[in-house]
């Protein structure tokens, strides 16, 4: 294990801008959480203290991770992957049944969602796999069998939890990492063709195999007025909240939808609607700009990485964050079905916060250890 502490050089190379972006985003999250819970009466403040505690933990973990060269992840990649898979299996077996799904594991007083970390482990494993292969002309279909097996195991475990949202995120992230690793032109064409043919089959299977609540969420996505007080409730209410924000919002802590408690889980997956209602279009654009800066910066880190593994890992980390942000906001606006994906850095929840910070820490790590020019 290489601990590269003493170089003053290193501290100068740390991308503070990246860290500052992440911290700013999470502070915005805390402010929104404060607004969200203030309407819940005294009992809500517990959420705030817990989230602050999670933020401290996330910062500590990130700081510690920066002490190690990320090549550590390269060497231990398959063990990390195996451990993540094992924890997913254990959670599924022992996991406490919350709201009908087995996605939580309890460690002391904390409740962790292992799938949040499994995403990172999957990216590490994929990065390791592709960095060890050299195919100048791009990967062929045969080359993809191994990585597909690698992806499908954790995705399957997440899917049976059942956590459709995380499974979708993992699929998109894996696919984009594979694309980034580079496919040969013929492979790319074949895959596109296959996807077009498979789409109807997937639709048919989805229709028959989705769980009741998942199907209900999908139907309400297609027609929110179907049951306005039941499953469509979230979409309608959050659209009203977003829409009533207007250009400049109703003002912090002034959102009627928020204060009226129309959204039962607004502090987790629907927290964006509070931002939209209270800070308006301007606030939303500002937030999206912060995210965009984070992603663009992250991509440039991927390009500047010193090795193959670093580049793939950096790209995967950016994709994890981006997929969450996009799916979450699109879902809150009613552009995508409600699948339960948290908004990175902003949504209430410790596992998601820590995982997001770890992604940023990995990016900073890679950028700090890029080759000297």
């Amino acid at each position: 294990m290489t601990v590269s502490l003493p170089q003053t050089n290193y501290l100068r190379r740390v991308d503070w801008f990246m860290g500052l972006l992440a911290l700013t985003l999470s502070c915005i999250g805390l402010a929104l959480l404060f607004s969200a819970v203030s309407a819940m009466g005294p009992s809500g403040s517990l959420f705030l203290t817990r989230q602050i505690m999670w933020l401290c933990l996330a910062l500590i973990f990130s700081a510690i991770s920066l002490l190690f060269d990320y090549s550590f992840l390269d060497r231990w990649a398959f063990w990390i992957y195996a451990l993540a898979l094992l924890i997913l299996i254990v959670t599924w077996g022992l996991g406490k049944v919350t709201a009908g799904s087995r996605r939580w594991i309890e460690i002391g007083f904390m409740r962790l969602q292992p799938s949040e970390f499994a995403k990172i482990a999957l990216v590490i494993a994929l990065a390791k796999h592709f960095s060890g292969m050299d195919r100048p002309g791009g990967y062929t279909l045969a080359d993809l069998i191994q990585p597909l097996v690698l992806c499908s195991a954790p995705i399957f475990m997440v899917l049976i939890q059942p956590d459709l949202g995380t499974a979708v995120v993992m699929t998109i992230v894996s696919a984009s990492v594979i694309l980034f690793a580079g496919l040969s032109r013929t492979t790319l064409l074949r895959l596109t063709g296959a996807a077009l043919c498979l789409a109807p089959v997937v639709y048919f299977l989805g229709d028959h195999m989705l769980l009741d609540y998942q199907r209900r969420r999908l139907t309400t996505f297609l027609n929110p007025d179907f049951d306005p007080l039941g499953a469509g409730y979230h979409i309608i209410q959050s659209q009203i909240a977003i829409g009533s924000g207007g250009a400049f919002g109703m003002g912090y802590m002034q959102g009627a939808q928020n204060q009226l408690m129309f959204l039962p889980v607004k502090h987790t997956d629907f927290i964006f609607s509070i931002l939209a209602e209270e800070w308006g279009f301007m606030g939303c654009v500002a937030l999206l700009a912060l995210y965009a800066a984070l992603f663009v910066k992250g991509l440039s880190i991927a390009v500047g990485a010193r090795d193959n593994f670093g580049a793939l890992l950096a790209f995967g980390s950016v994709m994890i964050l981006f997929t969450h942000v996009f799916i979450n906001i699109a879902m809150v606006m009613g552009l995508l079905p409600v699948v339960g994906v948290p908004l990175s850095f902003i949504s209430y929840g410790g596992s998601s916060l820590i995982a997001s910070f770890l992604c940023v820490a990995v990016l900073i790590n890679i950028s700090a250890r890029r080759l000297p020019f």
């Binding site: 090549s71 960095s131 007080l229 939303c284 965009a292 663009v296 991509l299 010193r306 193959n308 981006f322």
Partner: protein
């Protein structure tokens, strides 16, 4: 480490650029749709948010009723006026305090504290200030309401219980949904302020009783006029619960129970359906219907007799001598001794220095099984118990249903059936002969609920079938569909040789009809009552010097009595427990007699002299 060749680097750079463009394009898509929702359609949504145009109105479903087998209401909904405020809309709370404290029948100070408390909760939720307003109060408040925005009068159904105390423990009560229940129940559509079953059947059958809320979408213009005919779904009323109990019979059983605490359970021995289930003391369920006051709650909770506890399924008592039927059954079934086997009772048993007394200090002389049951001779059962051994007794006790829940309700207690293995596990000590002796007369560690004792009685009456007792006969949806219909559940049948039960049956008949039978007070001319008495010691009796009324209440024995009638078309099995009621034959038997006589529509024959 494989360093990057410039080739690969160029590839990555290109792909990263493509990815960057895709990411920015998707973010732009989000911005555009935000633009559309917030800036183009924004004002429309603002209107909706202010509920100027579209308003969703929740149409709460009426809760199902709980009725007795004859259809008499035990729990129903009555409309009542509720005064509530929305703290976020109150412009001037001091004005409300000033104007409405008198019509609400409280002082300004009290009303202010209540309003402050409401203000600390969610701001835009309506908080109930007072329920169950009288018409007079309503008219007084109404005249002031125009001047006080944020306060309102609503008509809400309130749960009332016309029979008051009758079946109070079984029916249970409603209460406002707690934060915890709300998190769990959000998926089922519960909202803040909803009433939810908190105890008894109201809680167990919540899913049936609750029904399904409907909704209505109204479009209203700025002046509050309705624009379109409403779209929506009408609410589905909850299903009614039909109990197995006849409220009139139940009430009779409650009324005759004049002692301060105890329980009566009457079952149909062939079906396990409950005919009456009394737990005394009780309470008026209507105390809970409009939110129980703190004073009443405290009173109920601190009462030394624990009126909130359902003794029939949660009270644990030693079955005492009523249990003697179990070792008797075990002995006959396993052919350890025959009915002719005799023990000479000298009033006590000396077990290597330890004295175990028979209730009759003068002794019963030489007794066989029949006499031992009829006169409830303890010495006989001491000796019999030693012959059987604790494991055999426990095995048969378990067969009669002791030590495990009867399955009527998740709230019931299982009681305790001790075995040598249990004792080693719990106390790390070996089982002593003295404990076998006390177990065989139903004392010691052994405890059971009145319902378990009644189930044993039913098994004796129906030829050994151990039933799962039931209180709910059926649930009926509003449209008349029967959602659930009770079918008798035989948990198991006790294996038995021919003539075993008949022997016990004769003995139990003699308990009532024999002139020296301990259950004479349960005699009803014309009805063949089978019974067994029991007197459960609360503390270890040292001497027999005191008269009953000289013993402090809490040291008096519990009176226990079981009885059944199984040779009529209508059958019944009864268990009576009178806490600190003295002797079972003396104080519990008359209650059983009255219950049985009433069941067969006869006047109480009283304590008849010899037939």
């Amino acid at each position: 480490m494989n360093e990057l060749s410039t080739d690969i680097k160029a590839d990555y750079s290109l792909r990263a650029r493509i990815a960057g463009i895709v990411i920015l394009a998707l973010i732009l898509l989000l911005v555009v749709s935000l633009w559309r929702i917030q800036l183009i359609q924004g004002s429309e949504y603002i209107d909706q948010a202010h509920s100027n145009r579209t308003r969703f109105i929740r149409l709460p479903a009426a809760r199902g009723k709980i009725v007795d087998i004859q259809g008499r209401d035990l729990a129903r909904n009555t409309p009542s006026f509720v005064f509530s405020v929305i703290p976020g809309k109150l412009h001037n709370s001091s004005e409300i305090v000033r104007k409405l404290s008198a019509p609400l029948g409280t002082t300004e100070e009290k009303l202010r504290t209540v309003l402050d408390k409401a203000a600390s909760g969610p701001k835009f939720m309506s908080h109930v200030i007072k329920r169950n307003l009288s018409l007079e109060e309503v008219s007084l408040i109404k005249s002031k309401l125009v001047e006080t925005p944020g306060a309102s009068l609503e008509v809400k159904p309130v749960r009332t219980y016309p029979e008051k105390e009758t079946l109070c423990h079984i029916i249970g009560s409603l209460g406002e949904i707690s934060a915890d229940e709300l998190t769990k129940g959000a998926a089922q559509g519960y909202h803040i302020g909803d009433l939810i079953g908190k105890s008894g059947l109201e809680r167990e059958y919540e899913a049936y009783l609750r029904g399904e809320d409907g909704w209505e979408q109204l479009e209203i213009d700025a002046k509050g006029r309705q624009l379109r005919s409403p779209a929506g779904k009408s609410p589905k009323q909850g299903a009614d619960l039909v109990l197995t109990v006849d409220a009139k019979f139940q009430k009779f059983c409650e009324d005759i129970f004049y002692q301060s605490a105890g329980s009566i359970v009457a079952l149909e021995p062939d079906t396990g359906r409950i005919l009456a289930m009394v737990s005394k003391p009780g309470f008026d369920l209507n105390l809970f219907s409009s939110g129980i006051s703190e004073r009443n709650w405290k009173e109920l909770n601190t009462d030394a007799l624990h009126p909130l506890e359902n003794r029939a399924i949660r009270g644990l008592y030693s079955p005492a001598s009523t249990f003697k039927l179990v070792p008797a059954f075990a002995a006959l079934q396993d052919k350890i001794v025959g009915p002719q086997w005799k023990v000479t009772c000298k009033g006590e048993l000396d077990l290597s220095g330890q004295i175990f007394r028979c209730w009759n200090q003068y002794g019963h002389g030489a007794v066989g099984m029949r006499r031992a049951i009829v006169e409830s001779c303890d010495t006989y059962f001491y000796e019999l118990g030693l012959k059987l051994g604790p494991d055999r007794i426990s095995k048969y006790a378990a067969l009669f249903g002791f030590g495990i829940p009867t399955g009527i309700s998740p709230q019931e207690l299982p009681g305790l059936l001790p075995t040598p293995a249990w004792k080693a596990r719990t106390y790390g000590d070996i089982w002593k002969d003295g404990e076998t002796v006390t177990l065989s007369i139903g004392q010691g560690y052994l405890t059971a609920t009145p319902l378990q004792i009644a189930v044993m009685t039913a098994a004796l009456a129906n030829g050994g079938k151990v039933l799962r007792p039931a209180i709910v006969r059926r649930t009926v949806a509003r449209d008349g569909n029967i959602l659930f219909e009770h079918e008798p559940v035989v948990r198991w049948t006790i294996p038995m040789g021919s003539g075993v039960l008949a022997e016990l049956e004769r003995a139990m008949a003699d308990v009532v009809s024999d002139k020296r039978g301990t259950g004479k007070k349960a005699r009803i001319p014309g009805i063949n009552v089978h019974a067994k008495t029991g007197t459960s010691q609360v503390i270890r009796a040292k001497k027999r010097t005191k008269d009953d009324d000289q013993i402090p209440y809490h040291e008096r024995t519990h009176a226990i009595f079981i009885a059944y009638v199984n040779d009529m078309p209508k059958k019944i099995a009864v268990a009576v427990v009178v806490e600190h009621g003295g002797g079972g034959g003396l104080n519990a038997a008359p209650l059983a007699r009255k219950v049985i006589a009433e069941y067969y529509g006869m006047p109480d024959p009283g304590e008849s002299p010899q037939p």
